[in-house]
Structures are given as C-alpha cells and as structure tokens.
Amino acid sequence: MSSIKEKFNQISPSEFFYSNRDLAGFSNPTRSLYTAVREFVENALDACDQKGILPDVHLTIKAVDPEKSDPKPYILTVKDNGPGIDAEHIPLAFGTVLYGSKFGLKQARGMFGLGATMAILYGQITTNKPVTVKSSSDAKIQNQFEILLDIQKNKPVIVKHTTKEITKTGLSVSICLEGDYSKAGTKIRDYVYETSLITPYASITFDDPKGQKFSHPRFVKEIPSPPTIIRPHPHGIDVERIRRMIVESQFEIPTIDDAMIEKVRKDLGLSVKKLSFTSIMEKAKKKWKTLPRQVRVVIALMSFLKMDFEKLNKIRIEDIDMPNKKLFYWDFGDSQSKSIDMDPESQYYKQLTNTVQGEPLTTFLTKRFQRVGPTTALKFAAFAKLKPEKRMGTLTNQELVNLSDALQKFDDFMAPDSSCLAPLGAEPLEKGIKKFFNPDFVAVVQRPASAYSGFPFIIEMGIAYGGDIKSGGPHVYRYANRIPLLYDEGSDVVIKVVNDTDWGRYKVKGEPPFIIVSHICSTRIPYKTAGKENVADRQEIERELRLALQYLSRKLSSFMSKRGQAEMAKKRANLYAKYIPMIAEFCTELSGKKKEPNYKKMLETEIAFETKKAVKEENEIGNK
C-alpha cells in the first residue's frame, strides 16, 4: 500500500494563465487570432496616446505555409511609432506575466499589459516559437530580442539579442501563433475598421494573409488630451484596498546605522563631525520643512533620547509604545534595555505618532482620496462614528470593514474627478462618422461626466442617417475606452437601451438606414465577462446612455420631420395636380354645368407654393 502524498506547490502567474487562457479570450484558434490582434494594436495605441504621439500602426498577418488549411500557424506583427521600451525592460515586459507599466488610476484601453503577454504565451504553446521584439526608445539604437517564456518560473529566456542603428523610436512585436483567419478575418477587418473610426487621429494599415491591404489614414490631426493619473474616489474602494493604502501611509522606524546617520548629517548640511545635541536640534528646526520623512523620524527620536550622533551609534531602538508614551532602547554600552518617557506636548511626539500609528482618519481621507476636503472628512467621521483623530494604524479588522461600508454609503462625497478620462470629443467623433458613412444627417453628443460606484465615466454618442448607410438599422457600433466591442452584442447595456427606444416616436420607420455610435469612457468599464465584449447594465450608465440617445433621437426626429415636410410638400403638389382636375370634371357634370369651373390658376399657385416649400426644407437640411 502506498500513501498518496498531496503536494502543495505555489504556481507562477504564467502557469495560472496558461491553464486559464479561456478567460482571457484565447479559447480557440479563431478567437485567439482576433484577441491577439486586439491586444497588440491596443498596446500600440495606448503607448502613443500616453506620449501624445499621433499613432502610425501597421498590422500584418502572414500564413507560415499559405498552402495549409485553417487552423494553421500565422505570423502576427504589429509595428508602431510609439516611445518604444528601454532595452533593459524588454525581456521582463515580454517574458513575464503581470509585468507592466499601466498601473495607476486613469482611462486606458487595457490594464497591466496582461493581454499582450497572454498572446505571446498562447503563441509559444501552439507553435513553440519565440516572440520577436524590436524597440527603440532613443531613436538611435534599435534593440532586437527573441524571447521565450519559462512558464514554470515566470521568467524570460533570451534566445537572441542584437542591436542596430535606427532614426525613429517605436516598437514592433511579432509572434507566431495557431489561428484561423478564414473564420476570424471578418471580425479582424471589422475591428480595424471600427478602431479607425474611434481613433481618427491614428493611421492604421492592415496587410491580411490573402494579400489584401486595408488602409485607414488619419483624418484628424489633433490628439485628444491625455488623461491624468488621480487618487481613488471613496466610493470605488474596498477593504483590501484600504488596508494597502494604510500600509503605504505608515512608515517603519528606520534602522539607525552609519549610513542613516550619514544621510541625516548630509540633509541637515552639517559638515563638522562632532556636533552637540542642541546645535543639531536647532539646525533641524530651521531645515524641518525640507527634510525627508526618514530624517524627521530620526530627529524626533534624537529629541527624546537627547543624544548626539556618537551616542546614537551605541544604541538600538526596541519599541515605541505610544499609548504609554514610552520609548524602549537597547544600550550596547551597558548591555541592557532602557526606557524613557516621551513628552506628548513635544512637536516631535506627533511626528512619531504619525509614523507608528499612521495618519489620523481626516488626514488619511483628504490626502489619499480625490476631492475630499477637511469639512467633508469631519462630516464623514461623524457619519462613520469614528473619531476624526483616530489613527489609521490602530483600526481593528472590524473597524476597517465598518469604515469601508461607511465609505460606500456616505453620500456627501463630491462626484468623482473625471480628469482621468480621455473621451474622444464630439468634434472628432462627428468627423469620423461623416467620413465613414457620408450621411444625410449626423448629430453627436458628449454627456457630462458621471460616476458609478466611485468610478467616473463619460458617454459619447453619435447618430447618423441616410447617405452610404445601409438600411435595416439601427446598426449599433459599441466602443468602450476606444475599443470596438464586436462579440456578445445581445446582452450589452447599449443594445438594451437602443432596443427599448420606440423609433416610431422619432419618425423613424420601416427599415431605416441609420447608425448609432456609442462610446463609454471610464477608469473601469463594468464588463460582464472577462472577454471584455459586453458592458453590464449599471443603472447610472444606463441612465446616461438613455439621456444621450434621447437627445440625439430628438435631433434625428426634427431632421426626419423636416425631411418629411419636404417630401410631404412635394407629395401634396403631386396630389393636387392629379386629383383637383378630376374633382372639377365630376362636379361639372353633377351640377349640370357645361363649362369646367375656373380653378386652374388656384391650382398653379398652390403647386408653386408647395414646391417652393419643399425646396426650402431641403436646403435647410442640406446646410446642416
């Protein structure tokens, strides 16, 4: 009999994603090819956006063996003119999972660069080929790497590294992966097409495996202002996040060694080695405002110990007992533990308290969150039944949970700051729609910023009618953070809002040729699934979508009625010309008259009047 011994191993992030690749959109060759395209194109656009560079993105998909039937290996290359990545970061950025630059709270297409690494991982496991990365961040030297990923260790393996001279910055990533272009082709072409509509400042080209070239040149020269990184909003936060913020805000008691003493001396600008305790304190008082935190803590400790540098070298701080106002230390000279009392009135006492117990609640709120002032912080403390001066480091687990709940429930926080959002803007959106659809009518709207659960969002929407648009509308183009959403349309909140609309009310009937472009910008899009294809129906978002659509529908309605009026005027003129003479004929015989009534002049005047009206209405539409 052998006993089975269970083994508990820590698995690396690479291994985790390897076994859960379905979650990230790599479930089959069709979907995987599409997702890989998306991830690399979005990374390229994000990189350019961040540096304010007008993006030139070149996408190429080539079959390794064109004769083979799908699914088969393809080489996918995405090249951009972005800032590039420093050579030292490249192996880690492309050869490890969960390594990225996109941390922080602001709107971006993707988070953490996770998707790109997933695509590389997927390519490696299906074709066993390394990823090729060419990058230049200084416009002088281009570094070229071939990298494999060690899945178990989550570490890059550099297969090859060469350099060459170059004159432009930019990044080019090329992977070999198993894909099915015959099935994914339509979606990929749609993706590129729709991306260029929402990124009118980008120039995107696509060379497909069948030798077709799709080119979408930029038609807007201004890049929308990039978003700023901001602190979180109290509504958008949970217990774990608070815990991490408290840890960040606390500061460990620095180890006082030679290096630390040297740093303090330097920061205080003391050149003389031997200096009395009092003169150190005086110097510190003068320079206090410019001193870094570590130095301040050391000074505070010295103030209670009443020691100069020399003495300080011979002790080790053991504990700082704030409640009992006692400072314990080990004296190497006497080889025993000693304690001294601290004076709570001393200005240094506060410095130590901050360090050991964290900031008071009100400071924590005003310093760590966006748009919370002292008044609101006090109000909130009362609401949460916590003392305003309560130190964050002393909160118990239960108190933390209560605090987190209270942060969610307190209604008097200001609405989230939307400066972290980067909507496209009404004007470029309208330009894009006009260029793509050449419509008879177009209207766009950008709603003011709103928020759900502490995450700010902005809805941009456009509506267009007639022109090159095919009938059977409304056709809905959905975007979230400048990403086109192509799959799982049925359960999306935008579709829901569109379907709820009674178009007859807006004089849109039959199989109308019209489109709706909807763009949701947020620091966090509430996707329903990890595949990031459909947006959940959050009440606040639904409301904003509805308001945007209603506004545009009213504009469309007035266009339709103008157009209808023009058509009606034409129709009336025709009807009069057809029927009035008949009436005249019949009533002549009926009334026993010989001659027809004298109606011709009246009819001519009326027809001329209606025709003029039709022309006028049409001109008005045309001018818009």
Partner: protein, 376 residues
C-alpha cells in the same frame, strides 16, 4: 263600357304611380345636383372645395329610444380637398356622386361590385371593393339616403311569396303588374321589386323566416293561404332591400310583421335588426319595422317543445354577453330569452321541429305562435 272605364281608371292610376316614381327620382337628382353645385362654386371661386360628413365612429353611434333604432349623433367631420390625406377619398366620393347621378338619371341599376369596377373607367382608384363599399356608405351618410335610392344594390338576394299584386316602375316594365303567388319558388327581392308599387293584397300578416328550406316548406304547406300571409325568406340577416320591402308592407299595406328564426342568439338578433336596424346603418332611417315581432324559436321553446339541441360555441356565448350590453336587450322578451340562452348554453334550429314530423312546424308550432303574437 265598364271595362273601358276601368281601363281608363287604371291608366290614370298608372300615370299617378309613375309620376310618384318620377318625383322621387327628381328629388334625388336635385339633391345630387345641389351638392355638385356647391363643389363647383368653391372651385370656381378659387377655393379648395369642402363639405361636412356625419361621423360614423363608434363614439358617435347612439341609441334613440324614441325612434327605437341606432342613429348617428351630432359629431360631424370636415372633408377638405386641401387636406392631402383626404384628397383621394374626396375625389372618390365626388366620382361616386357623379356616377350615382348617371345611374339615377338613366334609371340603371348596379351592384356594389359593379361600382368597384366602373370606377376604373374614370381612372378613379379603389384599393379593393371594401374601399369602394366604404365610399358608398359615405355617400349615404352625406345625403341621408340609402344606396338603393341611387340604384346601387348588394348582390345577396332574398325572396318573397304570397298574394300581393305589384306594379313595376322600372324602365321597360312601367305599368306591368304581377301577383307574387304565381311562382312557387318565390320571387327574388331585387331592384325592380323594391321600387315597384304595392297595389293590393289579401294577406293579413307578413312572416319573415330565416331559412330558405323552411320557406319552401311554408309554400308547400300553403301557409300563405292557411294563415293569410306573405312569406319572406330573409336568407339569414335580412338585406337592406328586404328590410325596405318589409317596412313598406307594414307602412303602406298596414300588415303586421312577425319573424321566425333559428333558436339561437344570431336568430334573435336577425329579428332585432328587422325591428330596429343595425349599428352599421345608423346613418339611415327608413330601414326599420319597429312593430315587428319575434315569435320564435325562443330559448324557452327549446325546453317547452323538448327540441333536439346542439351546444353553443364559444363565439355564440361571447355574442350573448355582447348583446347583453346592447340597450335594446335590456327588457322584455329580448332580455328574457337571451338570459335563458345563456343558462342553457344550447341552441336549436328551425328544422329541429322535424323530430315531430315534417309538418309539425306549420301545423302545430306556427298556429300557436301566431296566436301568441297577438298578445305580444
């Protein structure tokens, strides 16, 4: 000598009658002409012609207790040729008036279907016959005249049999007389019969019967002689021309009218329409016989005579509930029998009496009902 006098008398009578018909024709023509003249003048003055028409919407159909029929209320709609949505139907109505004018003038008759096809000769479009039928009702509403007055007749025909002398007024038959007991299959009630003069009769009652089969039986069993009656087969719901004839028999010949229908809710309503008209014809007044009596087959007869029955269908029952809301079914025999139908949820046809022998209905049931009718 006597003969000569009587011939002379007859001649003058004919003249008088034909003058009456001429007068009626004249009135109609005058009326049409005045409508036409109004339109003509509007156009001649450089204006879009318009006229007003009583509204035939459900909300404007009210029951008149005095007249004992449905009539149109006071709501009227303006039809203007300036309104492009009405222009087409305006023209259609204009054409119809023009066409009715020709028909009346030339004393020619046509059917509803004829009208639909005739329109095409004048480039007047009708989507289908129901559209042209609808315009005909418009003309009736505007002029308060039945379409038959304009020589437009429906296709369905019912028939009549009994000792009644008539004299034709239609072109080619003026002065010709006919006794309606001469042909055992009965005479079909068409334009010539409806417009004929009713000369004289020996009958003392009119029996309107719902079904052709029973009509033949009644003729065979000489119900006309045995009960001094004129028998009319309504062929289900009585057509307008038949209702007009029933009214004339009642008003001009002073004959009481009784109705004999199947023992179900539809039969009861056939009798009611003869008595007080239908909501569909609320714009017309000359189609009802308010004194007409429904003598059977009643719901109570089903139990009394132990008639073979069939169960009511869902739609039969629904019809009962609908009629319960009708103001004409709020009292008397109408309400009582309707309630019994609903209780029984069964119905019986006139033929059910054959259970007791083919002549049972004429030998037993009819005499009892005629006797009863006197007390109704």
């Amino acid at each position: 000598m006597k003969l000569a006098i009587s011939k002379k008398q007859k001649d003058s009578k004919i003249k008088a009658r034909s003058k009456k018909a001429d007068d009626k024709q004249k009135t109609i023509l005058e009326m049409l002409k005045s409508h036409g003249a109004k339109i003509y003048d509007d156009l001649d003055n450089g204006q879009f012609p318009k006229f007003s028409i009583p509204s035939r919407s459900v909300s404007n159909i009210v029951y008149d207790k005095k007249l004992r029929q449905y009539i149109l209320g006071n709501n009227a709609a303006l039809r203007s040729s300036r309104n492009s949505a009405q222009l087409r139907s305006f023209t259609q109505l204009m054409w119809l008036a023009f066409f009715a004018n020709r028909l009346t003038n030339e004393r020619k008759s046509s059917t509803l279907r004829d009208v639909y096809y005739s329109s095409q000769a004048f480039a007047v479009e009708f989507e289908d016959q129901s559209e042209s039928d609808n315009i005909i009702v418009d003309l009736e509403a505007v002029t308060s005249r039945a379409r038959e007055d304009f020589h437009i007749f429906p296709e369905e025909r019912s028939s009549i049999f009994g000792d009644l002398n008539i004299e034709y007024t239609i072109p080619g038959y003026e002065g010709k007389t006919m006794n309606l007991a001469n042909h055992p299959d009965g005479y079909s009630i068409g334009p010539s019969l409806t417009t004929a003069e009713l000369v004289d009769t020996s009958a003392e009652i009119v029996i309107a019967i719902e079904k052709g089969g029973l009509f033949t039986r009644f003729v065979e069993e000489q119900v006309d002689k045995k009960f001094k009656s004129i028998i009319i087969n309504t062929g289900g719901q009585a057509p307008r021309s038949t209702r007009t004839l029933l009214k004339r028999l009642h008003d001009e010949m002073k004959l009481p009218v009784i109705c004999l229908t199947d023992g179900d809710v539809y039969g009861e309503h056939i009798a009611m329409v003869i008595k007080s008209g239908s909501a569909n014809a609320a714009h017309l007044r000359e189609l009802t016989v308010p004194d007409a009596k429904w003598v059977g087959v009643w719901a109570t007869d089903i139990e009394k005579y132990k008639l073979p029955t069939i169960p009511m269908t869902e739609s039969d029952i629904k019809r009962c509930y609908d009629l319960q809301k009708d103001p004409r079914y709020q009292d008397g025999i109408w309400k009582k029998e309707l309630d019994v139908f609903l209780r029984l949820k069964r119905k019986a046809e006139l033929e059910a009496f054959s259970k007791y022998g083919l002549t049972n209905i004429t030998d037993k049931y009819l005499p009892q009902k005629l006797e009863l009718a006197k007390s109704l």
